[in-house]
Symmetry: C2
Subunit: 88 residues, 2 copies
């Protein structure tokens, strides 16, 4: 599955989420990670996120069977981690 994760996390916990996300996905821009993950790994990541976040935090995961189901356009500065830009 291809995953886009967007988070809004209190600054007290944001570094923990950043560190965790980096183990599974690629950083795209502030508060956004993307990457290919198996269903099992998605479940594992969500479970670990749930152990860190509190009620006031939000993480939204968009999941796709394939990157072919969407196209992407960037305005302004380019993404700095370009490991996934081949499909943009």
């Amino acid at each position: 599955m291809y995953v886009i994760a967007v988070y809004d996390i209190n600054e007290k916990r944001v570094n923990k989420i950043l560190k965790l996300m980096r183990q599974y996905l690629h950083w795209q821009q502030r508060s956004v990670f993307e990457g290919e993950l198996s269903e099992a790994k998605i479940g594992e990541l969500m479970s670990k996120c749930n152990r860190i976040i509190k009620d006031e935090d939000t993480i939204k995961f968009y999941m796709f069977e394939s990157v072919k189901y969407f196209r992407c356009e960037i305005l302004g500065s380019e993404v700095r981690d370009d490991g996934l830009r081949n499909f943009i």
Copy 2:
């Protein structure tokens, strides 16, 4: 097309972008808007964004033919503008 827009904008310009996005899409969480837009309206929105943003800003638009191509899971607090939660 279904659009997910994620932005990272300098605070000097963020209110202008917020105001603009609200005219086209639905606010989801900090820095994230979503909604259904025609190709023409997407072009119009991008063009207006380009007139506001500077080099240091980034707006990423993910576009889909249909919401059926992705599923969505939210951890933590629910989205507050729930106009689009019927497909989550």
